[in-house]
């Protein structure tokens, strides 16, 4: 029972981080029509930016994190949009798939060559330790990670549903043409989406790296899990990405503990196949009318 609860909390914590990456990924696709195969590396890079500010810049963790977020907004938000996503928008999905995979490879190799190919320890900004709850010992860090990630995810959800800007973003996602006609500044909403994604991956990096350590290939399985979470939840729903993320995180942790650690990445894949066979639009997705 102890182990079960610990795994539950750990699963929710990883899941909430997957959800952050998956939500950014879904938003980018919906609102900006950009498919980002480098999303995993987008989580890896801020971790190294932060290490850079700390070791080279000699900064304390929190100021370093603030600067990291700023750099992410510029690099992974603005620069990514202007230099890669915008020019590729004119072409088909295939070119975007190839170009963003290449971007992921570029980020991975840059960190490996310019920083290190070894795993780097990462500062813990969150309380470490354990929590006694009625005889069960739970990891305080897992709880805080879960609360922070889930809080951000819910905050984003509220922002999208309740604020004027959020609803405008949703409108662009649903129908760009109609959004333009009713007077929404579409390019601004698209830019905002890239920035929101950059913010999400920065926070995800801060939360996940202390556990997994900072390594250049950190994004490989994380990216894959985020894709799976997005599809399982429903690719046309940010809410779906949240649910999918939690589900994949739980599955990941439980299967690693109870079934097979070597195949921990395989079980979410299995879930993906089951979902595709039974409910191709995803758990919360809307079905589209039959085309052929």
């Amino acid at each position: 029972m102890d182990q079960f609860l610990q795994l539950l909390v750990a699963g929710l914590a990883t899941g909430a981080v997957y959800a952050l990456a998956a939500m950014g990924f879904t938003l980018l696709w919906q609102t900006a029509g950009t498919i980002n195969f480098a999303q995993g590396e987008f989580v890896m890079l801020p971790a190294f930016l932060m290490l850079g500010w700390m070791s080279l810049g000699g900064l304390e963790p929190w100021p370093a994190f603030a600067l990291t977020v700023l750099c992410s907004l510029l690099l992974l938000g603005l620069a990514f949009k202007r230099a890669l996503a915008d020019p590729l928008m004119r072409h088909d999905v295939l070119t975007m798939v190839i170009a963003t995979i290449a971007l992921g490879l570029f980020l991975k190799e840059s960190v490996k060559e310019l920083w290190s190919n070894e795993a780097q320890p990462f500062p813990d900004l969150l309380p470490v330790g354990s929590l006694q709850l009625g005889g069960v010992v739970l990891s305080l860090r897992d709880i805080v990670v879960f609360l922070a990630a889930a809080g951000l995810a819910l905050g984003l959800q509220l922002f999208l549903a309740r604020t004027r800007t959020g609803r405008s973003m949703q409108a662009v996602a649903q129908n760009r043409e109609v959004a333009r006609i009713v007077g929404i500044d579409v390019p601004r909403m698209v830019l905002l989406t890239f920035l929101v994604n950059a913010l999400l991956v920065s926070v995800a990096a801060l939360l996940v790296t202390p556990v997994y350590l900072a390594k250049f290939d950190l994004g490989e399985s994380l990216g894959l899990m985020a894709f799976i979470a997005a599809i399982v939840g429903g690719f046309n729903q940010t809410r779906g990405a949240l649910v999918g993320g939690l589900l994949v995180g739980l599955l990941d942790n439980f299967s690693a503990a109870y079934l097979s650690a070597a195949y921990r990445n395989a079980f979410p894949l299995l879930l993906l196949v089951v979902i595709i066979l039974l409910r191709p639009q995803g758990l919360l997705g809307r079905a589209e009318e039959r085309q052929v």
């Binding site: 696709w29 498919i35 195969f37 890669l84 020019p87 590729l88 072409h91 088909d92 999905v93 295939l94 070119t95 975007m96 798939v97 190839i98 170009a99 995979i101 290449a102 971007l103 490879l105 570029f106 190799e109 840059s110 060559e113 399985s221 894959l224 894709f227 799976i228 599809i231 690719f235 070597a262 195949y263 990445n265 395989a266 894949l269 993906l272 196949v273 595709i276 066979l277 191709p280 085309q291 052929v292």
Partner: protein, 311 residues
């Protein structure tokens, strides 16, 4: 028509004579090019004809390579293991394609990406079968009618023969009613369905045949490098194969020949960059995608069109 036949004959003559002036490493690269072209040609059917983005071609090459490497020493010999390797790749293609094709386009890209990751996971973990990260070594090059292909040159001619046979089969397939159905479902799936073309079945077949070409390429890749391990079959290779298709121009028959040549030789040219080679490579790919997404074949066709109009 005459011109095309002449061009093919000239190209073939170059391919036969070229290795005579090369050292063994050059011949190895040429052999690698021929096998890469076969795998890319298969992927071209999936991507260019059926319009599906697949990121799993490297996994099918791996399936072919491991199947042949495992079965050949069991008394079957290479030539019986070969059709089995191709068949297994085809069958796995059908099994993977079935759920994958319920979703389209970008979704398929993820599903195939996931499948590639899964195959690597199995190759690494099932040591009893695959030798884990060390792989299988001591793979022998096959004999043909008593002639050994052990040397670099004979094995290259074997690879060239495989490429020739695969090209002829593809040419014939594209001219057959199936090829017409493939073209139809790429052009306009809605109309194709209304004419009784089973879009799902043909897409699945295109995917599985493309996978079988991957398996064929893999079956000879093992004997070429004389061992197999999981490393060369990761996402980077699937990306490279997709790149060969796109650089050559998706859907164009000769595109994979050109694309495979470029992508196979690129690492050699970038060798001066040493550790930074992959960074440079990734950067080049991004620039290429931005500047000429229709591939080099598209650029050549545009140039040819301009020349024709000028004359």
């Amino acid at each position: 028509m005459m011109l095309r036949a002449l061009l093919v004959a000239a190209g073939l003559a170059v391919l036969v004579l070229l290795p005579l002036g090369l050292k063994s490493y050059g011949i190895y690269l040429l052999s690698l090019w021929a096998l890469n072209t076969v795998a890319a040609m298969g992927l071209n059917l999936t991507v260019g004809q059926a319009g599906q983005v697949s990121l799993a071609q490297a996994a099918f090459v791996a399936i072919g390579a491991y199947t042949a490497a495992l079965l050949a020493p069991l008394g079957l010999g290479f030539w019986l293991a070969l059709p089995l390797a191709v068949g297994v790749a085809f069958a796995v293609g059908l099994v993977v394609g079935f759920p994958a094709l319920r979703v389209q386009h970008h979704h398929l890209a993820f599903v195939t990406l996931g499948f590639n990751a899964l195959v690597i996971l199995v190759l690494r973990n099932e040591e009893w079968l695959t030798g884990g990260t060390y792989g299988i070594s001591g793979i022998e090059r096959p004999d043909i009618l008593g002639f050994s292909t052990f040397g670099a040159l004979p094995f290259y001619y074997l690879c060239l023969g495989v490429l020739g046979a695969a090209s002829l089969a593809m040419w014939w397939l594209l001219r057959s009613p199936w090829g017409r159905a493939f073209a139809g479902l790429r052009d306009n799936p809605l109309r194709a369905a209304s004419l009784g073309v089973d879009v799902r079945a043909y897409t699945l077949l295109a995917f599985a045949i493309g996978s079988a070409y991957g398996g064929l390429s893999g079956a000879f890749l093992g004997p070429l490098v004389e061992y197999v391990d999981p490393t060369p079959f990761g996402l980077e290779t699937s990306l490279a194969l997709l790149l060969m298709v796109v650089v050559g121009g998706a859907g164009s028959f000769w595109g994979p020949f050109l694309g495979a040549a470029l992508v196979t030789l690129l690492p050699e040219w970038l060798r001066v960059a040493e550790g930074f080679y992959l960074m440079l490579y990734a950067l080049l790919v991004m620039v290429l995608m931005i500047l000429c997404p229709s591939g080099l074949m598209g650029v050549l066709e545009r140039l040819a069109g301009r020349l024709r109009r000028a004359s």
